[in-house]
Amino acid sequence: MTANETSHPTASAPEIDASCRVPLLALLVGAAVWLVLGTALALIASIKFHAPDFLAECPALTYGRVAAAANDALVYGFCLPAALAVSLWIFSRLSQTVFTLPVVPVVAAHLWHLGVFVGLASILLGHSTGFTWLEFPRSASILLLVAFGLIAVSIVATFGFRLERTLHPAHWFLLAALLWFPWSYTSANIFLVAMPVRGVAQAVIDLWFGNNLLWVWFSLAGLGIGFYFISKLTGRALNSYYYALLVFATLILFGTWCGIPVGSPFPAWIPTLGSVAAALLVVPVLGVAAIVARTLCGVSGPIGGPLCYFQFAFSAFILSALMLITLACPQFSRVLEFTWFGQAQVQLQIFGFLAMILFGALYYILPLALGHDFPFPKLTRAHFWLSGIGVVLLVLPLAVGGYLQGTHLYKIEAALPALRVSTLGLFLLLAGNLLFAVNVLAMFLNWKLALAKTIFAAVTAPLKASEVKP
């Protein structure tokens, strides 16, 4: 049931790729910068556990601010715009039309990155809202929302003009993601920032939003992109369409109810619903495992090539989902709740799952969109190894440290050796992400240079005799 992309007399693949070039660059150059900055801030936050007085004189770099800024830079700075960039290319390709309204995402990308800048600066200056994953103040949230809306409209417009009418499973996941972020982000901001509700209802809504962003939205975007690419890179149809439908339906039905810790000071029905929903997540997890195993059965791409990124990311997804289910299980949550284990799951979801999906996709898309290979193609493989090892060294110690912390009366000393190893993991991730940024920025500069040369050539070209007035 996958779209056969060559059977219609439609726009050619190079034309489509070229139409996405400027929007992609506008979104990705900023995203690459926030990626490096976010990882660097996370590293600073991590170092504070080795040396608590490190940068203690600087209010902007106190742990509470740096940790929040690092998370937001990674999620809002990198993951969301990069996922939007990949989505707009996928929608154009699947629609077999050139991207409609290419100016809109370019304007939106600038608004988005301005919003991230305002938001991060506000957190570091102490003007965060205090809500996890919603730290950005109102001005920044409005910019993000407008920008997301503009990009979503231009993607949906491309979808509306599609020449290949059949829907690919990626369409469902990505359309749901395009709808769900503005919906959840608007309502969370209205109920928490614009007209705050009273008391712990704030905490429930904040937890709901955090789960819907990091678990549901990340899964929708990541699985949508991932399913498209594993079938594209292997040249096989997604195996199978009905499994994908099952994963999609159960993910949005059950996944959206999770994320409320078991012992929270809320009426008992709220955490109970969350635990039941989390247990039911076993269904989409098994579905994803089956799809990946059946589609990729017997396939091996070049080590460090795009396919490796997807294999790694899908494994990370399954592991992160199992960690989420474990956290929601009352027996285990008594030990693991409020420990580094939860942080390990979040980091796995960001660095191990969505970021890896996006790297794999972008390493495939960018050379097509710009019409030439990366300036440093070897770095794309080095990046895979640095990121892969980095994720393992970040997540595994945090998870083990969380268990030790939970069994040792939450004493931080029990988790310290593990935290130290995780700092090493973050260091590797920073190195890997720098390689990504170097390639993207070099590509961008090459493109600007080529553009400038073309303009210069056009300006300095001798006038044709026919154009000269007598």
Binding site: K48, T62, R65, G126, S128, T166, T256, P265, F338, L416
Partner: protein, 264 residues
């Protein structure tokens, strides 16, 4: 499938259900929560925080304290404890009975049976409700946190990671404002193992004027400023300390009953 509309419709139904269930319903149920009374009294709970403590919550937010500290105490359940208040006319029989029976960790029915036996022997007993749970064993509180504890707070920051201890009852554990100021300025001056960052930027190190400031911190020599200088807390530091002192959830309420210790 060739049409996007069924997909959009399914998405709106599935996502809308969770939106109604976990945003609108809590906003209606918890967002209209009123003050309650302390169990068996007419005292209103929670009391308003003082002005300084309310401002201190903003310092708590601005510096991201909730990144490392939770403000929620969990509880596994409650047990009953039978306490003898009067041995009555036949003390030896009651004493024998007390040694033979288990008096703590009882269910409600067991407690009733035990108190029935002791009453029959002529003693007078009280049944106490005792919450249990690992958080309570750590000394982090006397009962679980309930929605009313956070009624006047904006933003409510329950926190999700215990890199440091839970703070739901820090005002009871450390009731001295000066201890908090010393701890904020130099955490390792009061707790050598602490991994908390220092919040020196909430304090001013100034030259001692005509007379030392009455607010100056009394720091141990290893953490003290150079001779002739003193460390004075800025208003934010005082407000933060006032907020931390105001964190005390130690009265029984309907949602989390327990028998408070008798007042002497």
């Amino acid at each position: 499938m060739k049409c996007g509309l069924p997909v959009i419709f399914a998405v709106i139904v599935a996502l809308g259900a969770s939106w109604i269930g976990l945003v609108i319903a809590p906003a209606l149920q918890l967002g209209t929560l009123k003050e309650t009374t302390v169990l068996n009294t007419t005292d209103v709970y929670p009391p308003q925080r003082t002005g300084a403590a309310t401002l201190g919550l903003q310092a708590y937010r601005a510096n991201g304290c909730a990144a490392c500290h939770t403000e929620q105490v969990r509880q596994d359940g409650v047990t009953c404890e039978v306490v003898l208040t009067d041995a009555g006319k036949n003390p030896s029989a009651v004493t024998n009975l007390l040694t033979a029976l288990t008096l703590t960790g009882l269910t409600k029915d067991q407690a009733e049976a035990v108190s029935g036996k002791i009453t029959a022997a002529g003693g007078k007993v009280e049944t106490h409700i005792v919450p249990i749970g690992s958080d309570l064993d750590h000394g982090w509180g006397v009962r679980r946190s309930v929605a009313e504890d956070f009624l006047y707070d904006n933003p409510v920051q329950l926190g999700g990671l215990r890199a440091g201890p839970d703070l739901a009852n820090i005002g009871l554990r450390s009731p001295d404002a000066n201890w908090h100021l010393l701890h904020l300025y130099a955490p390792r001056s009061v707790n050598t193992d602490s991994k908390m960052p220092s919040f020196r930027y909430l304090f001013t190190v100034q030259k001692i004027g005509a007379a030392p400031s009455p607010d100056a911190l009394n720091l141990p020599a290893a953490f003290a400023p150079p001779a002739g200088f003193e460390v004075v807390p800025k208003p934010e530091a005082r407000q933060l300390a006032a907020y931390l002192l105001s964190l005390r959830a130690n009265v029984p309420v309907y949602d989390a009953p327990f028998t408070p210790p008798a007042k002497p």
